[in-house]
């Protein structure tokens, strides 16, 4: 199923470039809402800096609250972009063409959003440079044995490579934007396009670089969320210490990332009139990815429970029982519903092809994935080995406000991008269109 393909190169340029620069009232409204959320979150971060971490609901047992939950959530969202752009490129999958540019943008912006949270969680944000190893007058060195430190390297590497890969892929399309503009705008895009002329030599280097970065980024997709999972799995804390965590976290990240791609692209395709470029062919493939990764997550949840039961380790079994029956059971069952049950109807093509149903399921998936991290992060610390340390954790208004602010930041970046750069890769769309010929004949 291919959908209605554009007939010509010119039509592709026209359709994609048409939406740049001139925002509709609806777009302006969406952009203002995202900026509003961002300002709302930023103000509450300011409050937290001013008054201290006491403005949040974290306590002595639950020392990792929604900041770490949301950090893991956004890192997870940042997975699908590289999966779609790099891995599907390497396996020559054709459906990636229409969706990979927006997915890459989503990846870069999601990781930028995630990177805020270690700073938020730090409290004393002005000391964030302590994360990085360098000779200093404090005679201190970062603890390389800490998985949290591995995270710093893993995520910063992932961000760097994803951003470079994203930018390289943009170059030929930036040149097209340049060629369709004049004056200062053309000059800016000329700089961004690095003087691209589309010569054979440039294309040869471009394709070599693109293939190289695709191969380079692929293992990072696996490594970054594996390292994030080790933040938990390395500890002896019951419910965290699990050898299955790395692939289970990676699958969960791809699950939420693919769902987010659908959530973002469906309205974008509708409002920008891009049904030729982003259509049911892509949604169908992404929905199947969600279905597969949902099955992997369900397998992982079941395996964790089985091994917790089989191990006869009282602490392990206690935490798993408590998650399903304790005071946070609502979060657990919400997670099960959203991640394991809600995607099941996608097995049926008719429901998979129903836009509204699919859109709702993708939102449920992302709600479920946030609560999956909530279950992992919060429950194990709130109900750890020593009953005297069992504490309820209730996120404060400040934390919710910052969570909303992070969504505002992400959508602000994404919406701004969609009006400034081509969100569909024109150069790859053209690979599916017959090349223009001189005089109506191939030469």
């Amino acid at each position: 199923m291919l959908g209605n393909r554009p007939a010509t190169y010119a039509e592709t340029n026209r359709d994609i470039l048409r939406v740049l620069f001139k925002p509709s009232p609806l777009f302006i409204l969406a952009w203002l809402v995202s900026v509003g959320c961002l300002v709302f979150g930023a103000y509450h971060w300011y409050r937290q800096i001013f008054w201290g971490l006491g403005t949040d609901g974290m306590n002595q047992a639950s020392f990792w609250g929604t900041f770490i939950v949301t950090f893991v959530f956004w890192v997870g969202i940042g997975h699908a972009g590289t999966l779609i752009s790099a891995i599907l490129f390497l396996v020559r999958s054709k459906w990636r063409t229409g969706v990979y540019r927006a997915s890459e943008a989503m990846t870069v912006f999601a990781v930028m959003t995630a990177l805020l949270f270690p700073m938020l969680h730090l409290g004393r944000v002005w000391q964030v440079y302590w994360f990085f190893p360098y000779p200093n007058q404090r005679q201190l060195w970062v603890n390389f044995k800490s998985p949290l430190m591995w995270d710093v390297f893993a995520i910063s590497t992932y961000f760097t490579v994803s951003a470079v890969f994203f930018f390289i892929g943009l170059i030929p399309d930036l040149a097209i934007v340049r060629d369709h503009n004049t004056g200062l705008i053309a000059k800016v895009y000329n700089v961004l396009a690095l003087g691209w002329r589309g010569t054979n030599r440039q294309w040869r280097h471009f394709m070599a670089a693109y293939g190289f970065f695709a191969a380079f980024a692929t293992p990072l997709v696996l490594s970054v969320h594996s390292v994030v999972s080790w933040d938990f799995a390395m500890a002896t804390t019951a419910g965290w210490h699990s050898t299955l965590f790395p692939p289970y976290f990676v699958a969960g990240a791809i699950f939420s990332g693919c769902a987010m791609v659908i959530t973002l692209l469906m309205p974008m395709s509708y409002f920008f009139g891009w049904k030729k470029y982003v259509n049911m062919w892509h949604y169908d493939a992404l929905a199947k990815m969600c279905l597969l990764t949902s099955a992997i997550l369900t397998y992982s949840y079941a395996t964790e429970y089985f091994i917790g039961w089989y191990s006869q380790n009282p602490y392990e079994w206690e935490i798993f029982q408590w998650r399903a029956t304790g005071e946070l059971a609502w979060a657990f069952w919400l997670m099960i519903f959203c991640n394991c049950i809600a995607p099941l109807p996608l097995y049926f093509k008719k429901l998979r092809h129903n836009h509204i149903f699919l859109f709702i399921v993708t939102i449920l998936i992302n709600v479920g994935m946030w609560f999956e991290r909530f279950n992992i992060v919060v429950s194990s610390t709130a109900h750890s080995f020593d009953p005297s340390m069992w504490r309820a954790y209730n996120p404060s208004f400040n934390e919710y406000a910052i969570l909303i602010g992070s969504a505002g930041w992400f959508f602000f970046l994404f919406l701004s991008f969609s009006k400034t750069f081509p969100s569909v890769a024109m150069m790859e769309i053209k690979e599916m269109v017959a090349p223009p010929v001189r005089g109506g004949h191939h030469e």
């Binding site: 500890a235 050898t243 099955a295 397998y299 089989y310 006869q312 009282p314 001189r438 030469e443």
Partner: protein, 462 residues
């Protein structure tokens, strides 16, 4: 012809005079004889039932993984509509026909050899049965219930049997239309031609409507592939947890099942690569198993090689880091004790270092001899890995019994491999070696032609 640019009639015509491959037959029979001799030596001469049945478990789980992995390869081709691997699909499916024999071998283990498990009340272990009672008054008593011999036996038979039944119907959906198509063609060329009797088991009906058979076969495969994928993960995890992990009843790793089923699929692809390269001329599909096909298969094998190492590392790292006694002993025995530590290092080299280094090369994946050689190294490496998982849990001597390994373990492994080779070669001699009725056989039209469209015409050059 449905397939794009592939002359399927010529492929079917090539079946007419094909006889069983003598080399494969010889390898198969010698392997089976070695297996029987090794098994008898272990039980009757060395009188080591633990080691003998341990070797049997290692060989059984190895060969079951290859056989089931073949079905999974076909399932993945169906699910993804991938065209690059279609010429390999039938060979992979033929692996799946070994599953009934694997099931028989599993029954033999469960009925005769269950005492190899240290938790069995009448275990052959010199230390007697392991106490399964909880170590803490807070814990519930689950192991005694889960590792009850009758329950163990029943759940294995039911779960594995259920998966194999699904496989059987799936394979009928794939073989059936091809056999009907091939039968009709061969009969039309030679009226005296008769289909082998066992074809009917795979869905062959003389004179059946080909178009209807293709449609129903496609429907059957489409309906069953998600279920097989799902149950493969569940049942092979159960095999891993029960048949292998429970040999050390107090040790657990929740990655173990996933690691096991992923590596089973990996070795199946390695076996597929070897079989395809070695049989393509005999089967008359040399022009279809091109260097580009082995290149793509090699990339997938390389990816799974990295995945094997990744999942192994992901198990070792948290166990090493947390350093909890109930987890570390399993690793310490294998990684630090005497010859086991050498075996661990050998496994790491054969399963990761060598394949990774070699398969990174694009050229080698296209060269027949080096490709077959490195895939053979992977198969031997994973056999040693399975041995390493099984044996230290049931062999409590301080020295590695090299004589038992050479005279019992290797021959039993050869027996399973021999049986597999014999069956696969016999079947391949009599069935279409590619899925001739598959509409997705051949290159995708997009990859063949680029048609010009009107209306996007540059001015004529002057």
């Amino acid at each position: 012809m449905s397939a794009h640019s592939i002359d399927t009639n010529a492929i079917i015509d090539g079946m007419a005079g094909r006889t069983a491959n003598k080399t494969a037959g010889l390898i198969g029979i010698v392997g089976i004889v070695l297996g029987v001799v090794g098994f008898a030596l272990g039980l009757l001469v060395f009188k080591e039932p633990s080691w003998t049945w341990g070797a049997y478990i290692a060989g059984l789980v190895f060969i079951l993984g290859i056989a089931q992995g073949g079905v999974i390869f076909s399932v993945i081709m169906t699910a993804t509509h991938a065209r690059w691997g279609r010429p390999l699909k039938r060979i992979a499916e033929t692996f799946g026909l070994f599953l009934p024999f694997g099931y028989l071998a599993l029954i033999v283990l469960l009925v005769v050899g269950l005492k190899v498990y240290p938790w069995h009340p009448q275990t052959w272990s010199p230390n007697g049965a392991v106490d399964l009672a909880p170590h803490s008054g807070l814990a519930i008593d689950t192991k005694a219930m889960w590792l009850d011999p009758t329950f163990f036996m029943l759940r294995q038979l039911v779960a594995v049997g259920f998966l194999f039944i699904l496989d059987f119907f799936y394979l009928r959906g794939s073989f059936g239309p091809d056999l009907i198509m091939a039968g009709a063609r061969l009969k039309s060329k030679d009226a005296s031609w008769k289909a082998p009797g066992w074809w009917s088991l795979l869905g062959y009906k003389e004179g059946a409507d080909q178009a209807a058979a293709i449609a129903s076969g496609k429907k059957m495969q489409g309906a069953l592939f998600p279920l097989i994928g799902l149950f493969y993960a569940v049942v092979f995890s159960l095999i891993a947890f029960d048949l292998v992990m429970s040999l050390a009843p107090w040790w657990y790793s929740n990655m173990f099942g996933a690691w096991f089923f992923a590596s089973s699929f990996w070795i199946s692809m390695a076996a597929l690569g070897i079989t395809a390269v070695l049989t393509k001329r005999w089967l008359g599909i040399n022009h279809l198993i091109t260097p580009n096909v082995t290149l793509d298969l090699g990339k997938l094998i390389l990816a799974f090689c990295m995945f094997w190492a990744y999942t192994l590392f992901a198990q070792i790292l948290p166990i090493w880091y947390a350093n909890m006694p109930e987890e570390t002993d399993f690793l310490l025995i294998r990684m630090t004790l005497g010859e086991w530590s050498w075996m661990s290092k050998t496994v790491a080299v054969m399963c990761f270092v060598m394949p990774f280094t070699v398969l990174v090369s694009r050229g080698i994946k296209k060269m027949e001899a080096p490709f077959v050689l490195i895939l053979s190294v992977i198969l031997m490496g994973v056999f040693m890995e399975r041995t390493l998982l099984v044996m230290p849990s049931i062999w409590f001597e301080h020295t590695f019994p090299i004589v038992l390994f050479l005279c019992v373990s290797l021959p039993i492994f050869a027996g399973f491999v021999g049986g597999f080779v014999l069956l696969v070669s016999r079947v391949l001699a009599k069935v279409p070696p590619i899925p001739v009725s598959d509409p997705e056989l051949g290159a995708h039209p997009w990859d063949v032609h680029v048609h010009a469209y009107e209306g996007d015409v540059l001015p004529a050059s002057k």
